[in-house]
């Protein structure tokens, strides 16, 4: 008997009340947006808080039902079992389609409440517009969970004694964190989207919409980035194919909003500094949110096949009109307000940081377009030509390698150029050291025997960009060392503290470079597969693996068979690794647990794909060079984002900054 009592009975009524409050909030916010009346805005806020309260109550009801093993709910019976541990029982909230939609809706209403509560009180019209958009989105999702995707639906017939349990692949610590982070990212982008549309709707097109939501954008981008990396880590440790990214449609669905959001994070700086690219920035945030919703649609429509998708449900058909409304409505509003969105400044020169940012934006958006095209092309091709095609990793790798390398190059060039203008001579003086470092890398690695042109170019560009960025830190620190007569570390600290946004951004870029180094290591991956009897050995790269036999154990959830594999490298004994092949009893499903021996140089990755009755095992082994740097790079990126978010809000361009350019110093920020 579970100590928790199911409150499932409260679930659906709470959702219906929340839906009602969201409708009230929409009316109040629209009226506030039109009239600017503060009392209406306050009424909208109260209705919004109530919407959140009742949605949260519904979520709590479902969690209690999960914990109480209330198998009268088909959701609980489908995704949990009595033997499932408490953390995974709670994570079943987002393990199924209906629960994940409820979770999404709760995050949306919670984030909306926070964003609207923290919005500047003086801008009632903007709050009204943004609140109406947010509650419109919330109303759609509440309708979805209250009707076609109701997680509180009862089982047909007798209540089962036990449930089906959670998919074994989802029973991983990474899966407790990865989906909520992705959802946080997706939902987080609804805040800048709503404020942008609210600003267009109420014609409050100064900078208040993006300054009010700057932290939200950074927060959503960070959550999405970490979520994507954790998804890669989950695939690496759970799926047993030795990789972390498969260009699967659902992986792509999380990557598309990330690409356009990254473009936005860069181009919005131009709007802040130069009051340019207003149309572009609003368009980018509309696209980002549309991509986020598109991802939700893809996973729930049954349109594309993926290991990540939920089973085909009745709700996919509702998403398409919603998505069309977001896109047509959003871009239509941009077109309608085109006159009010005109740039207030012009570019001063071709060689300027603005130009580098624009080039960066072109590449990011082209990358997003490529991912979209590759994801939906099989459907388009089949509809128009009747031929079934696949668009898989080789296509994406072929297209993304040049785009990615160009972006890395621009990441290095960007910090070297000042805003507004820079002479060619100064530009050459700034770039020659990073260029020399990149060239030297090619020379050293080439002479050292590295013959892959792609890997050579990747390493060279990483060194070029890293040198440019480190140079920025050194130039900044030098000022403090000279002026304050302090040590290098203190000077570096002061440099970062003085402009957290800029230097935090550089730290993020350094993290990206580490990730690229990890990706480049993939070119040197080695793989071997062998059917091994006890005592057999397998040589791979510098390692020798000796299969010593298998050991069996049983837990309430699974039957475990564990291979004992001794690892040696030359004369060194590196110990024993123990990959497993387990039968999950509730689902009758086999799953391999990978054994990984990791260090910054390479990962030894071993997976058992099957055991024979004679005790032999099919062992698949990979040596993955430099993979460690991907996770290290992600940690550095996160650190950089935390530095940025700890900084102050940007100071909007002043009249002096908007004035015609005077000659800028070489090292301009």
């Amino acid at each position: 008997m579970s100590p928790v009592r199911s409150l499932a009975g409260l679930g659906r009524p709470s959702l219906l009340v929340a839906l009602l409050f969201s409708l009230i909030a929409i009316v109040a916010f629209i009226a506030a947006g039109r009239s600017g009346r503060r009392d209406l805005s306050e009424a909208g806020k109260r209705a919004l808080y109530a919407t959140f309260g009742f949605t949260a109550l519904a979520t709590i009801s479902l969690i209690t039902a999960l914990l109480a093993h209330d198998f009268s709910l088909s959701y609980v019976a489908n995704y949990t079992s009595r033997s499932l541990s408490v953390p995974y029982t709670i994570s079943a909230l987002w393990g199924g389609m209906e629960g994940s939609l409820l979770f999404w809706t709760t995050l949306l209403t919670g984030f909306s409440a926070l964003a609207i509560a923290r919005a500047p009180a003086r801008s009632s019209r903007l709050v009204g517009g943004a609140g109406a958009v947010l509650m419109g989105i919330a109303g759609f999702f509440l309708f979805m969970v209250a009707f076609p995707g109701n997680p509180f639906a009862q089982v047909a017939g007798d209540v089962p004694i036990d449930g089906n349990g959670l998919n074994p692949l989802l029973q991983s610590p990474g899966m407790i964190i990865h989906p909520p982070l992705l959802y946080t990212g997706f939902v987080g982008f609804s805040i800048p989207f709503a404020f942008a549309i609210g600003a267009l709707f109420t014609k409050r097109l100064d900078d208040s919409w993006f300054t009010a939501t700057r932290q939200w954008t950074l927060f959503a981008w960070t959550a999405l980035s970490v979520g994507i990396v954790l998804g890669g880590a989950w695939a690496y440790t759970e799926l047993g194919w030795g990789g972390y990214w498969a260009w699967d449609p659902v992986e792509n669905a999380s990557f598309m909003p990330w690409l356009t959001a990254t473009a936005f994070l860069h181009s919005v700086v131009i709007q802040e500094k130069r009051r340019m690219l207003k149309v572009w920035n609003v368009t980018l945030i509309v696209l980002t949110y549309a991509f986020a919703v598109f991802g939700t649609f893809l996973t729930r429509s049954g349109l594309l096949s993926s290991i990540h998708t939920f089973s085909e449900g009745p709700i996919g058909k509702y998403f398409l009109p919603f998505l069309a409304l977001l896109l047509i409505g959003g871009l239509g509003m941009v077109a309608y307000r085109l006159d009010a969105l005109r740039s207030e400044n012009q570019l001063d020169a071709l060689i300027s940081r603005e130009s580098a940012f624009i080039a960066n934006n072109v590449l990011f958006v082209a990358a997003a377009f490529t991912v979209l095209l590759g994801t939906i092309y099989p459907i388009i091709a089949e509809v128009f030509s009747g031929i079934r095609l696949s668009v898989g990793p080789p296509f994406y790798n072929a297209i993304f390698t040049p785009i990615g390398l160009a972006i890395i190059g621009l990441t290095g060039i960007g910090p070297l150029i000042s805003w507004r203008r820079m002479s060619k001579g100064t530009f050459w003086r700034m770039i020659r050291v990073p260029l020399a470092a990149g060239g030297l890398t090619v020379l050293i690695l080439g002479l050292g025997g590295l013959s892959s042109p792609g890997a050579l170019l990747s390493f060279a560009l990483c060194v070029f960009t890293a040198t440019a960025i480190v140079g920025e830190f050194m130039r900044g620190s030098r000022v403090y060392r000279r002026r304050d007569n302090v040590g290098a570390f203190t000077a570096l600290n002061r440099t970062i503290a003085r402009n957290r946004r800029r230097y935090g951004g550089y730290i993020v870029h350094l993290g990206v470079l580490l990730i690229v180094i990890g990706f480049a290591g993939n070119a040197f991956k080695v793989e071997r597969r062998a059917d091994m009897a006890p005592g057999d050995t397998l040589d791979i790269a510098a390692y020798t693996l000796t299969y010593e036999g298998a050991r069996a154990a049983t837990t309430p959830e699974k039957e475990i068979t564990e291979a004992q594999i001794a690892v040696g490298r030359g004369d060194d004994d590196l110990g024993t690794i123990r990959p497993q092949r387990n039968l999950h009893l509730a689902q009758g499903q086999w799953q391999s647990e990978v054994a990984i021996r990791t260090n910054p140089i390479e990962d030894l990755y071993v997976v058992v794909t099957g055991f024979d009755t004679d005790g032999s095992a099919v062992i698949r082994t990979f040596v993955n060079p430099l993979t460690w740097w991907i996770w290290a790079g992600a940690a550095v990126m996160l650190a950089g984002m935390l530095v940025i978010m700890s900084g102050r809000a940007p100071v909007i361009a002043t009249a002096a900054q908007r004035a015609p350019a005077k000659k800028q110093p070489a090292v301009a920020g």
């Binding site: 260029l435 013959s451 002043t654």
Partner: protein, 156 residues
């Protein structure tokens, strides 16, 4: 430096030894270029199904018989249809997916270049005090700005 870099590339390209692939390596390579008929949307290499392992063994068998990559791919395509290729063909129905990304990059690049040139060749605006260009600072923002300016003056 540029010349040195190009010469290094050329040297490497000319001197790189032609590495003969083992049947296992060739099978691994091909399994990365083939969509598994047993796992939706996943390459044969990444598919954990036992049937996928059998198919990989079959490909390795073809390689041991002396078939090269093109011959093996053709054989698989004849058996499973064009959707077995993870990389769509650059002819027929698959052509657009290869062309459009380059078109997007080129169009975006040309458009950006044209805009940047257009913007940078214009004279700067005569007035910079249009109502929209004016930023109204709140009392707290004004206070913070003054404090910052004061601190900057003190520092300099």
């Amino acid at each position: 430096m540029k010349r040195v870099a190009w010469m290094t590339f050329l040297l490497l390209a000319l001197t790189a030894p032609a590495m003969a692939q083992s049947p296992e390596d060739l099978a691994n390579d091909i399994s990365n270029k083939v969509i598994s008929p047993f796992c939706p949307g996943v390459t044969l290499h990444d598919c954990p199904s036992p049937s996928a392992l059998d198919m990989r063994d079959r490909i390795e068998g073809y390689a041991r018989q002396g078939m090269d990559e093109a011959a093996i791919m053709e054989r698989l395509e004849a058996e499973y249809g064009p959707s077995i290729r993870a990389e769509p063909s650059s002819e027929g129905a698959g052509i657009l997916v290869w062309i459009l990304p380059s078109v997007a990059v080129l169009t975006g690049g040309v458009l950006a270049w044209w805009l940047v040139r257009r913007w940078s060749s214009r004279r700067p605006p005569q007035t910079t005090t249009s109502p929209q260009a004016t930023v109204e600072l709140s009392a707290s923002e004004r206070q913070r700005l003054d404090a910052e300016l004061g601190r900057l003056r003190k520092e300099s």
